[in-house]
Amino acid sequence: QQQVKQSPQSLIVQKGGISIINCAYENTAFDYFPWYQQFPGKGPALLIAIRPDVSEKKEGRFTISFNKSAKQFSLHIMDSQPGDSATYFCAASGMRGGATNKLIFGTGTLLAVQP
């Protein structure tokens, strides 16, 4: 069963704090790990993505940390802002052996940043 497990289900952070969301996967064929941000009534939008050849990727306030041996990856949001309040999904896909780039999503984390 291809699954991606995500935690926590919900998260409350004070403005300026660090938000951390964790994901774990089982399928070692996965080799692409994106994070999506979704606001109510909108479709998910790509936030940042990582391949397993690096252990960390940073874009502005958003950082992905990747631990290949533990099969875990996490999203860190530095200096969290009220505008970051949204649902965050981790995902994974693997294209080896001709597989398609279909995304397997985690269950989502509802982040609320309090002013």
Partner: protein
């Protein structure tokens, strides 16, 4: 430029009726995906189209679900004999091509309610 558009934005139907959901991908994108977002199942892959290749239908939950993509552009997802468990938000995404890790751009979704 225009993003992925979907219609209708909301659809209410009676159990047993057939419904058609439409997706207009970003111009020039050859890969098109359908996903379903529901409270119980999260975000799950349904079907994938890439150019003239045979679609990947591995995520379709039953034979009541089908999809087609005409002329390599617009796609229609059809659900026959709808059931209450089909109630969900149906999301369409497109990317420049499906055989590499290109960003998938999501539409706003169609919220389907089966009474």
């Amino acid at each position: 430029g225009a993003g992925v558009s979907q219609s209708p934005s909301n659809k209410v139907t009676e159990k047993g009726k057939d419904v058609e959901l439409r997706c207009d991908p970003i111009s020039g994108h050859t890969a098109l995906y359908w996903y379903r977002q529901s409270l119980g199942q999260g975000l799950e892959f349904l079907i994938y189209f890439q150019g003239n290749s045979a679609p990947d239908k591995s995520g379709l939950p039953s034979d009541r679900f089908s999809a087609e993509r005409t002329g390599g552009s617009v796609s229609t997802l059809t659900i026959q004999r709808t059931q209450q468990e089909d109630s969900a938000v149906y999301l369409c995404a497109s990317s420049r091509e499906g055989n590499s890790y290109n960003e998938q751009f999501f539409g706003p979704g169609t919220r389907l309610t089966v009474l």
